[in-house]
């Protein structure tokens, strides 16, 4: 290779003068004199702490200094992230169900036991998994999926705690699997069956007003797969010649899918293996092979056997977009889910929502397209590979590079309030003497949702805690941007959350004694060691919560520091107040609310 043509004569001259020692050290490959080899490209820079925090806030339940250090040690900025993901993908899923079953064994012998009491252990185990579990990426993706494929203990599932827990575990196990499989698992899971009333959905009866339930048919298309209107692969809305969006389906298609989803109900209880559609029931005791955690079962006599109109789109494989008559319920289901899964909307629809949940509220169309194309084809011809999609979301240049110019103002997102809590507790080693995590009522009087506006498996409806299109009035709506998580940042809930953090910082730390066994406390010993030096103290907190003192605005730093200094260091009480002020001002700051 003729290096001189690559470098140009001017570069050769400079190199010859300036890098003689380096060249000599190269050992002179080939022995040709007079041709100067190029300088090696500069090694990729290491991952900085701030970059590590950014990544870990996208991929885990909150960055910690320890995990940032571990990530940085995995390599330089071109390979550390993918190596970290490789290790995460290989980890098995932490689960919720065993804790719920164990709680049943303990609680069911007590007087006045009711099944609703078993929702609390599920929430506690969720906190334990998200604070302590090592499968952080899997859990974070499962949480994102749980906000798309929503079921909730609020409503019909309140007395089905095993099904509710198992549904979440299913999402965790499937977080890096295939979306077609996940869609089927979700469809047949009894928790979803109960929540969106496909469980027990009957065929029409001629001569009566009875016809199939349309609930699951509608929501599985609107929320779980394709959305209401046709999309381009970059997630933007397609429009017709009158500039109107183009609906993806109409009422006739909903009725077609409603007919598909007939005949499914609780699998026969292990105690009644010859059950019927009419007499099958949920098993509320976790005996072997109980049906709360088994897929629903088809009862052929209640399945609609006629033709069913399904989605029509370019490339649809079913003739006339119609499922033929006379198939079994299982065949109908497979055909219907294939029909949904292969709709061109699924890639951009799911890609954009995962980006919004993990990285930024306002992704560029190009970013959505890159991820959607990975959904459509993972590189080896497979569609719906979630592992490939998650990698594409997190390793994209828009997720990893620092935004500049106009884009900087809308890069990132507001952290979900529940994720602000998990990040805070992770950074401060939140724990309770009892070994339980986030137990009610001492930590959350009224429940975690009453303070944070959300809790695991506690959405108020299938539409999640917030809408992916929410835009508060003002510059965000005016700019046609969205900030979904701000739907929960009402004056009321922000005050609840802000007060929660104050209580945590002032009254629930390693500096207090006599805390109740279940009270979550934070480890402030490092801050206590720096308590006399307000500058060092506030910087320490910013290192833990923001990934560096430089991440604080000048206002935050100066106001917090001044407030710390209004209390003189010395007594235990004063020291406690100084540490509390430092933590409180950072954890409630706009900087901390932002996920960069």
């Amino acid at each position: 290779m003729n290096h001189s043509t690559i470098l140009g004569s001017r570069w050769r001259l400079i190199l010859a003068g300036a890098t003689l020692a380096v060249l000599a050290a190269c050992g002179g490959g080939g022995g040709d004199t007079g041709v100067v080899p190029p300088p090696p490209p500069p090694p990729p820079p290491p991952v900085t702490k701030a970059e590590a925090f950014r990544f870990l806030n996208q991929a885990t339940f909150g960055a910690t200094e320890a995990e940032a250090t571990r990530l940085i040690a995995l390599g330089d900025s071109t390979n550390a992230y993918s190596r970290w993901i490789d290790a995460e993908v290989a980890k098995p899923a932490g689960t919720l169900l065993p804790q719920v079953e164990a709680a049943f064994a303990t609680l069911s012998t007590q007087p006045n036991f009711n099944l609703q009491q078993l929702n609390a252990p599920r929430v506690e185990k969720w906190f334990e998994n998200t604070l302590r579990g090592s499968d952080q990426l899997r859990q974070r993706v499962a949480f994102a999926l749980s906000e798309i494929l929503v079921v909730s203990q609020v409503g019909a599932l309140q007395n089905l705690p095993f099904a509710t827990a198992d549904f979440y575990d299913m999402l965790a196990r499937g977080a890096f699997g295939n979306y077609r499989q996940l869609l089927e698992d979700v469809t047949l899971h009894p928790a979803m069956g109960v929540y969106l009333s496909m469980l027990g959905n009957q065929r029409a009866v001629a001569g009566t007003n009875l016809r199939p339930d349309e609930n699951y048919a509608r929501e599985t298309m609107q929320l779980f797969s394709i959305g209401l209107v046709e999309l381009n692969v970059d997630g933007t809305v397609r429009r017709d010649t009158q500039n109107q969006p183009i609906p993806t389906y109409d009422q006739n298609i909903i009725e077609g899918f409603a007919r598909v989803f007939t005949g499914w109900k609780w699998a026969c209880p292990s105690t009644n293996p010859n059950c019927t559609f009419a007499n099958t029931r949920a098993q509320n005791t976790p005996v072997a092979n109980y049906n709360q955690i088994r897929p629903m079962q088809l009862y052929p006599d209640q399945h609609e056997t006629g033709t069913k109109l399904v989605l029509n789109y370019s490339g649809v494989t079913l003739p006339n977009a119609t499922i033929p008559a006379g198939q079994t319920g299982a065949q109908d289901l497979a055909a219907a889910l294939d029909n949904i899964f292969n709709h061109p909307n699924v890639g951009p629809f799911i890609a954009k929502q995962l980006i919004q949940k993990l990285v930024t509220s306002n992704p560029s169309p190009a970013y959505v397209q890159r991820v959607a194309e990975r959904f459509n084809n993972d590189g080896s011809g497979r569609r719906g590979n979630l592992e490939a999609v998650v990698r594409a979301v997190l390793l994209d240049a828009d997720a990893r590079s620092s935004p500049t110019g106009n884009a900087a103002a809308t890069a990132g997102k507001v952290k979900e309030s529940l994720l602000r809590l998990t990040q805070f507790w992770r950074a401060y080693d939140g724990r309770a003497a009892s070994g339980r995590y986030g137990a009610q009522p001492v930590n959350f009087p009224g429940g975690v949702s009453s303070i944070f506006g959300q809790g695991p498996g506690q959405s108020p409806s299938v539409f999640n805690f917030f809408s992916p299109s929410y835009a508060p009035p003002g510059e965000i709506a005016n700019g046609s941007f969205v900030a979904p998580e701000l739907q929960l940042a009402t004056e009321y809930l922000n005050t609840q959350v802000t007060n929660f953090f104050w209580t945590q910082a002032i009254n629930r730390t390693t500096a207090q004694t006599g805390l109740a066994a279940d009270t979550m406390f934070i480890d402030t010993r490092e801050e206590q060691a720096l308590v006399a030096d307000s500058e060092a103290l506030i910087n320490k907190v910013a290192e833990k919560l923001l990934g560096g003192a430089a991440q604080m605005s000048a206002t935050l730093k100066s106001e917090a520091k001044a407030q710390i200094d209004r209390t003189a260091a010395g007594t235990a009480g004063n020291n406690n107040t100084r540490v509390a002020d430092a933590i409180y001002f950072v954890v409630t700051s706009p900087e901390f609310a932002l996920q960069r």
């Binding site: 007003n209 009422q251 890069a411 108020p460 009035p473 009321y492 005050t495 001002f585 900087e591």
Partner: protein, 466 residues
């Protein structure tokens, strides 16, 4: 940003609020209110029934022919097979002031004695078969809309889209505001020194109250919560001052700025609300203690308190948002509906009674909204998403004991049914909202800003308010 919105904002910045929904932009017309603020007080209370109230069982025909049609459409009596019809004998009679010329009579769901009493006393009205429409629509116009281009609201029968229609009255335009938010935009300049935004929600963020300009305030069901760690002197006061300085600082992202503005408003309004509300009455009908109130009744108690202390907060116009959920009765209609409607009725009645304790019942109008009506047909033990339905309006300003709009003949495949017992609304949400907005003080020139499609309907005021 879409072009219409940019136009709106440009004109708003220039001082005259140009408004556009893909139609000719108008301007906000000077409202005649004597120059400086309103001399009277009015409040509207929107009670949203989340999930889609099966309102064909809330107000039911009781006359023989109409009841038979209803009962057949619903598949016979509730609890028998897949039947959904409330038994005729259990319905609570509504006494119409002007009897129906064809002899139709109506009754209320048996769990709704409170609202029945208000209706028969002339303090409540029923608006029948109301829902989102862009223009009057017949069954044949609906069936041929795809080819004729007859304008229909998009995504009929979908929860969040039909909620959005009720909240925003957007038709087919893409808008960022709800109709209560636009009422605030129009009236803002006339409100004087109100200490709280015109729109207050007791039930979370809602599109209904988002203005193009005006921002609502969200408090808890039981009021505003104070900030722990803040105080009126010394270090606690300094903590508050520092907190506000941080909330007031400049930030580089829209997310930080959005969050900081909420923190700023939270501090400011909590002071004002908490400073005033302690002076409010302990209502006999909605007592502070001794009775366990439902979450809805708790929200309405806080509304009543804020109305009681309106002068302390210099309020002359207020829109409150309260809600209750669980109405998506795909299942278990027979088991669930009595509790759902019973709570609505009892809460409304207690709220009305509380208002009479302070003599404010004539200044406050409560009205319901819900995602949609539901199918007359059954899916086994419940009903599915549909379109038109029945709403309630309550207050001393209501021309009560009347049914407004047109209660349809409830027959499957009848002239109002687009399939499965999904009834085409006979009056639009725009007409419903427009009637309330006119009472509230929106003049006719500004009415299209609030209810953009109202010009497509002959009757712009349904007449249920004084």
């Amino acid at each position: 940003m879409n072009r219409q919105r940019r136009r709106f904002l440009r004109a708003a910045a220039a001082g005259g609020l140009a408004y556009a929904f893909g139609r000719t932009p108008g301007t906000v017309h000077a409202q005649m209110s004597g120059g400086g603020g309103f001399s009277d007080y009015k409040a509207m209370v929107c009670l949203f029934l989340f999930g889609g109230n099966d309102s064909w069982n809330m107000v039911v025909p009781t006359s023989a022919a109409e009841y038979d049609a209803y009962s057949n459409a619903r598949g016979g009596p509730l609890g028998v097979g897949s039947g959904l019809a409330v038994p005729q004998a259990s319905l609570l009679p509504l006494t119409l002031q002007t009897p129906d010329p064809n002899g139709a009579t109506y009754g209320m769901h048996p769990s709704m004695g409170g609202v029945q009493e208000l209706f028969n006393a002339g303090r409540a009205a029923v608006v029948a078969n109301v829902g989102p429409l862009i223009r009057p629509t017949t069954k044949s116009q609906y069936q041929t809309a795809a080819t004729t281009g007859h304008a229909l609201p998009p995504q009929l029968f979908s929860h969040n889209d039909q909620q959005d229609q009720w909240h925003s009255l957007r038709g087919r335009a893409i808008v960022r505001s709800g109709w209560a938010g636009r009422v605030a935009d129009v009236l803002n300049s006339q409100l004087g020194a109100q200490q709280l935004p015109l729109n207050v929600s007791l039930s979370g963020q809602t599109f209904f109250q988002a203005g193009e300009v005006a921002t609502p305030y969200v408090m808890g069901a039981a009021g505003a919560n104070a900030f722990a760690g803040f105080g009126t002197g010394g270090t606690p006061l300094a903590r508050r001052t520092a907190f506000e300085a941080i909330a007031n600082a400049n930030y580089g992202t829209v997310y930080e700025r959005g969050y900081a503005s909420v923190q700023r408003r939270a501090v400011q309004y909590a002071d004002r609300v908490n400073g005033a509300i302690t002076a409010a009455r302990d209502f006999t009908a909605l007592p502070n203690a001794g009775v366990t109130l439902s979450p809805l009744a708790t929200q309405l108690r806080t509304v009543a308190k804020l109305i009681d202390v309106r002068s302390r907060l210099s309020m002359s116009r207020q829109i409150f948002f309260v809600s209750t959920g669980g109405f998506d009765t795909h299942d278990d209609l027979a088991a669930d509906q009595p509790g759902l409607l019973g709570n609505v009725s009892a809460s409304i009645k207690s709220f009305y009674d509380a208002l009479t304790e302070i003599g404010m019942e004539g200044s406050v109008t409560l009205f319901t909204q819900s995602d949609f009506g539901r199918t007359l047909t059954s899916n086994g033990d419940g009903s599915d998403h549909a379109w038109g339905g029945v709403q309630l309006v309550v207050g001393g300003a209501v021309r009560g004991q009347n049914l407004y709009g047109r209660y349809p003949l409830l027959t499957i495949n009848g002239p109002d049914d687009v399939g499965g017992g999904r009834m085409i609304p006979s009056v639009s949400s725009d007409q419903y909202a427009g009637t309330i907005a006119r009472w509230f003080g929106i003049n006719d020139a500004n009415l299209p800003l609030v209810a953009p499609s109202i010009g497509n309907f002959a009757q712009q005021d349904l007449g249920f308010l004084i």
